[in-house]
Structure formats: C-alpha cells, structure tokens
C-alpha cells in the first residue's frame, strides 16, 4: 500500500462545488500524478469546512495549511511550490481582516479558534464517499456498542442523561422523545430524519449530509434499535442534489458492509433506510406536515396531539429528528453522556451549529459550545462587522425568531437565554445587521417569507400574516400611524395564540421583537416619516448641497419628473413635492452635491 506523506483536502461542499472545486480537484490529481507524487500525496474531496465565503478551500495536512479562494488554475503552483518544495503559496493564504496578516495555519485563524466541532467533527476531515474513513473515526462503533452491549432502555437512559435537545428548532429532549416512541405499542414503527431545512439562510443540515452522511445513518439505526423500528426515512428537499447523492452512496456502502439490512452485526437487528423527496416548502419541515407529504398528501400540518411518537407515518409511531440532532448521537454513545453533558450550559448541552451570515467578515458555518456569547461569535469567530460599520442587531431563529441587540451581546447562547431575550435558537440561522439595515424592513422581509410559505389551512396564519405584512408595508411607505404599531402588536398576539401550527404561532416574532427592541425606529417611521438607515426609499428626501453644486445641470436634465430647477452655473434645488425619489440625480452628479436625508 502506498504510504502517503501528505493529504490534500479539497472542499467538495455545495458552496465550493459551485466555484469549480471539482475541476480544481481533478487538476490537483492530474498534476500530482504527472509529477510522480501519487504514492506520497493523496488528494481527497471532503465535506464543507465551514468557511464557504472564502471557498474553494484547500487544506494541506500535516502542516494545516489553509488555502482560500483557490481556482483550478492554482493547482500547479500548489503542487510545484508547496507539495514539492515545501514553500507555502502566500497569496492563497487567509488574510486576517484586522491586521491584514497572512495566516499560514488554520489553528491560528480566529474563525476556528473558538469552535468546538462535534456534529461537524468529520466535515472537511474525511472523504464522505468512503465508509472506511468514517469507520476509522470510530464510525459505526456506537451502533455496534448499542446492539451488542446495551439494551434499548440503556441507550435511551444514556441519551436522556446526555441532555441532548432537538436541533431542529423545538429543543425537545431527544432521549425523552425516543422513550415515548419506544413505549408506543405497534407492529411497525418508523425513524424519520428531517432534512427539510427550510429556514432561509440555514445550510447546516445540508453540510452534514454532504460531509458526513454516515453519522446520520448510524444514528438513525441506533434510534431504530431503541424504539423498535426497522424502517428509516430521510425527508430531504429535492434541491439538495449533492446531499442526496452522498447519502445514497453512503446508504449503499452501509448495506454492502452489512451495517444496514437484515441481521446487522450478527445481532438479528434489521434496519434499512429510504429517501423521500420534498419540494422545498417551509411548512413541510413541520413534522406533521412532513409526514403528510411523505404519505403523498398535501404538506399540511395537523393539530398535535396526537404526536408523531404515537401516531405518525401511516398512523404508526414515528420518531422525527433533525439531521444535526442525529449527527450528535454516535459521539454521545462513544464518549458517554457525561462527557457530552460537561459541554454547554445547565439546560442546553453540547454544541450548536450556526450559519453565520449578513454584514460580517467571516460568513460561514460554525459550531460552538452552548453558552458561547454572541459577542464571541460575532467578533472573534465572525471577525467583526464588515467595512468597519457599527453593529446593530443579530437575527436568530429565522422567520420564527427575533433580533437581539447590543445589550444582548454578552448573553450566553442557549435555548432558554435566547427565548428569554425575545428570540430563539431555531435551526441556527444567524444574520448580522449593521447600521445600514432598517429593522422595519427586516420584519417585513420575514413576513413576506411567511405569507409565501403559509399553507393556508388556518385563517389566523393565512389572513393575519397578510395583514401584518400590509401594515409593515404601509409604514415603510411613510403612510403609517401610531395606531398601526398598536395594531401590529395586537394582531401578532392573536396570530400567535390561534394559529394551527408552529409556522403561524411563531411568524409574528420578528415583528414583536423589532417593536420591542427598536421602538424608536418604528416611531420615527410613523411620526417623523424618516428611516435612519436609508432603506425605506419612500421616506428619503433628496437635497442639493449649495456648497458643492456647480450648476452643471446634469441632475435637472436627468430628472424624469422635472423636479429640479436652477440656472446654468447657478445653484439647483429639488422640489420635494414633485420628487419621486428615483435617485437619478444622485447617480448623475459628479460633484457629490446630491445627498439623502
């Protein structure tokens, strides 16, 4: 067997894939072979490294060199310089956003320093299409341990003791859910993996399935053993082709090895997994809607109880867990509940994966221990706010969540703290906003999403959210009144109390939390008709600064409604009543004389 001295890990995640990491991989392989290095250097495609914004990523082991934004054309230089001569290719190294230094080794990157990777332990480390690499990282050992050394009840106890809570949003105790499903009496039961991932901006589930599909398969089998199920179903959205591909490959490999199928590891336990495709509707992530969708019905939710644990897929007891929840399971069994419970806060154990996005320097996928503060996430891992702007808010929990402000920055992130601050964990979307973002518009953005995604079955959600959207729109148009803010509040509470499913019950959260935290901004919009961040176009006023105006007439000539008057070589003025705020004058003025207020 060839003895490799160096491993070149090339990201094969969706983000990097989109920027030609596959061609890069091919180039590297070809050049390595041409140079006769294929016995010493192994080139491997891995899952996402998390640092997708700077992709494609190439990591070289054992010296931990982390190359960013590598194009297929860079392959030759990497091979000739780094692999042969041991000289790092400086221009491809990550540059620290603060001190502009090139960082040669991933251990010194702020992005990775505070992270603790449990669910993402294998992402960017192993080849997801090679079951042996998974096994070499203790893969399937947890399954073997459960099947041969533990009773289902013992496994459930271990899960309960670990304190693992659902990562799909609700945060319900995973061990408890397994226990309830195991106690439901039935000839057939099901394990369902929720890979719908509907939250805008979230991609942690996709990354896990792409980068480490076996961990989810193994966990589903363990769950099956605990609850007495022989069938597993993964509900995954059809627009995740790479994740689907990797999952299929992994399932086939597991079957070949006899780790899925009949008589697993000679214990008589049988378990197999199939895929079910979703069409990408947000509400289909809700577990009852998801089950209906799998049954071939419309993806509409139903009232709980009965919970799926009692009556789910085709009315059989069904245990639904999220992808990230499952990814934690094998580690808990291998390392023990106590180890897991030692990480995190009192009531939220372990880590959480977040998709960090918005006005932040390091956009990407991160995993941190529960209890890490927002400040650490935003400033240390995220590298601070882009372009030196001022931090304004961070939105967590997607359309079901809310936004947190400056005063929350030192709050340790966990389920309960986020709820107490008026937001929530959700599936882990985290969008950072700066001074240029308008909070009313932000609430409107999420309401727009909810209106689109409502299944329409219940009127509070179908009609109520539409009305919320209309009022928000009116405010951003400069036509709102104080009463409108009160209506927003009242309507929000009614929707929360009366909607059928989690979608409607949480959809007013972005409205309520922005009203609470940014009351002044709402008042400015309705009384002063001003938007301080300049996002609400209708509220802006264009002016000409007489100091800078040279009378070139460029603005007047380009104004489509003739709102600008003034002599040639004389100072120009804009008639506010006629102005339609198109911004043409601002664009045309070469002397910085036009400004917005």
């Amino acid at each position: 067997m060839a003895k490799y001295k160096m491993h070149v890990l090339v990201c094969g995640g969706t983000g990097c894939h989109a920027s030609e990491s596959d061609t890069l991989l091919d180039n590297l392989k070809t050049i390595v072979a041409d140079k006769g290095l294929d016995n010493e250097v192994q080139v491997i495609a891995t899952g996402c490294f998390g640092f997708c914004e700077k992709g494609p990523i190439v990591k070289i082991m054992p010296d931990n060199t982390f190359y960013t934004q590598v194009s297929p054309a860079d392959a030759r230089e990497i091979v000739e310089e780094h692999l042969i001569k041991g000289r790092k290719v400086n221009r491809l190294l990550y540059v620290d956003p603060e001190n502009k230094e090139h960082i040669s080794d991933s251990k010194h990157m702020g992005f990775y320093k505070k992270q603790l990777r449990i669910a993402l332990r294998n992402c960017g480390f192993i080849d997801p299409e090679n079951i042996d690499e998974y096994i070499s990282r203790d893969g399937y050992e947890a399954l073997a341990k459960c099947l041969t050394e533990m009773t289902p009840q013992q496994v459930i106890e271990e899960m309960k003791k670990s304190g693992l809570r659902g990562r799909g949003g609700g945060g319900f105790s995973t061990g408890l859910k397994w226990e309830i499903t195991s106690k439901s009496v039935s000839d057939i039961k099901y394990v369902v993996c929720n890979a719908d991932e509907g939250d805008p901006g979230a991609f942690m589930d996709r990354s896990i399935l792409e980068g480490d599909p076996h961990s989810v398969i193994e966990a589903m089998a363990i769950c099956g053993y605990c609850i007495g199920a022989s069938y597993g179903l993964v509900y995954i959205r059809a627009e995740y082709p790479l994740a689907i591909d990797r999952l299929k490959t992994a399932i086939n490999q597991a079957r070949e090895y006899g780790l899925l199928g009949n008589d697993i590891l000679g214990t008589g336990f049988a378990f197999d997994i199939e895929l079910r495709y979703g069409a990408g509707a947000f509400v289909c992530g809700e577990e009852t809607a998801l089950i209906h969708s799998m049954e071939g019905l419309r993806g509409e939710p139903t009232v709980k109880p009965p919970f799926p644990s009692v009556s789910g897929y085709y009315e059989k007891p069904t245990n639904v867990n999220n992808v990230e929840t499952f990814a934690n399971v094998p580690v808990i069994i291998n390392k023990g509940a106590d180890w897991f419970a030692s990480i995190g806060t009192e009531k939220s154990k372990g880590t959480k994966v977040f998709a960090l996005a918005g006005k932040i320097n390091n956009v990407g996928l991160i995993e941190v221990p529960m209890g890490t503060t927002l400040r650490e996430v935003i400033y240390e891992i995220g590298g601070g706010i882009k372009d030196g702007k001022k931090f304004k808010a961070v939105q967590t929990g997607g359309p079901s969540g809310g936004c947190l402000t400056e005063k929350h920055l030192d709050t340790p992130i966990d389920y309960d703290n986020l709820l107490a601050s008026g937001s929530m964990m959700g599936s882990g979307g985290m969008i950072v906003m700066d001074e240029d973002d308008c909070m009313v518009s932000m609430a409107k953005f999420y309401l727009d999403f909810t209106v689109e995604e409502s299944c329409g079955k219940c009127s509070p959600c179908r009609i109520g959210n539409k009305r919320l959207y209309e009022i928000l729109d009116k405010i951003t148009q400069g036509k709102g009144t104080r009463d409108d803010i009160d209506s927003l509040r009242n309507l929000s509470y009614v929707i929360k109390d009366t909607a059928l499913c989690g979608l409607g019950q949480t959809s007013p959260n972005p409205v309520l939390s922005t009203i609470d935290n940014f009351w002044d901004e709402y008042i400015e919009h309705v009384t002063d008709k001003k938007c301080r961040s300049g996002q609400c176009k209708a509220l802006l006023q264009y002016y000409i600064d007489p100091e800078n105006c040279v009378g070139c007439t460029a603005c007047a000539r380009n104004c489509p409604v003739n709102a600008i008057s003034g002599e040639r070589k004389g100072i120009h003025v804009i008639d506010q009543a006629t102005c339609i705020k198109c911004g043409a004058c601002l664009e045309k003025c070469k002397f910085n004389a036009v400004f917005i207020k």
């Binding site: 042996d132 070499s136 590891l265």
Partner: protein
C-alpha cells in the same frame, strides 16, 4: 471488503486505516507531538532531503513514536543542507544541519527519545512571525 459481522471486524477496518488517517488526526494537534520539519527547497532536495524525510516518516512509524513530519521551504542554511528542524513537545525548536539518514537515526535515538543533543546543531538566527 466483505460484510462487517462483528465489532471485531469493525475494529479491524479501523486499524487498517489507522496509518492513513493518523496523518490527519495527528496534524490536528501537532503541539503535543514530536514535529520534524525538513527543508525541501531546491538546495535541500539536491542534497538528499527527500530520502531523509522518507527515513524519518518510516522510522517514527517503525519505532512507534508519535510524530508529524512536514516539509518546509529553504530555512536559509543552504551551506548545511539537508537541514531539519525538530520540535519536542513543550520545547524550543532545534535545527540540525548536514542530516543524512545515519544522522537522522542518531537524532531519533538520542534527541527525540532521550533529549540528548547531537552534533550539528545550528543556532536559530531568525524569529518566527508568531513570536513577534
């Protein structure tokens, strides 16, 4: 590979891959291991650095010493190639010059195993970026 019938089978696969994966596992935590850097610029390669590097990798494996062997660019001691920098856990790096396989063997037996210094040390005359 056939079916995995038992935990023992699983462990066997794991062991077979250990060598291959250990390169990645170890490099996640290099500070706790012996680190050897072999200068592999043109000057180094020309004077046999490659054989020395291969020797280190194989011998650490054979003698069961947990180590990370990497290559670096020219360290500036072209007169003394092949040069090798050895860092024991918790210690300052030491650079050895004129390292052939015999000398490499000495370095492993004396310095790495017992912390005894061997001939050929080059005083470190540069600072790394991290120290600044």
């Amino acid at each position: 590979m056939g079916q995995v019938k038992s935990l023992a089978d699983l462990r066997k696969i794991k062991e077979e891959l250990q060598g291959k994966m250990s390169l990645r596992e170890k490099s996640n935590n290099p500070e706790s291991l012996v680190q050897v850097k072999v200068a592999m610029a043109t000057c180094g390669i020309a004077s046999g650095a490659k054989q020395v590097m291969d020797f280190f990798i194989e011998e650490f494996d054979k003698r069961n010493i947990q180590a990370v062997v990497t290559q670096t660019g020219c360290m500036g001691y072209c007169f003394a190639e092949p040069t090798v920098e050895v860092t024991l856990p918790g210690k300052e790096p030491v650079v050895f010059g004129y390292v052939d396989t015999r000398k490499a063997d000495d370095i492993i037996e004396k310095y790495v195993k017992n912390g005894e210094l061997v001939e050929g040390i080059i005083p470190v005359n540069y600072e790394t970026i991290e120290k600044k």
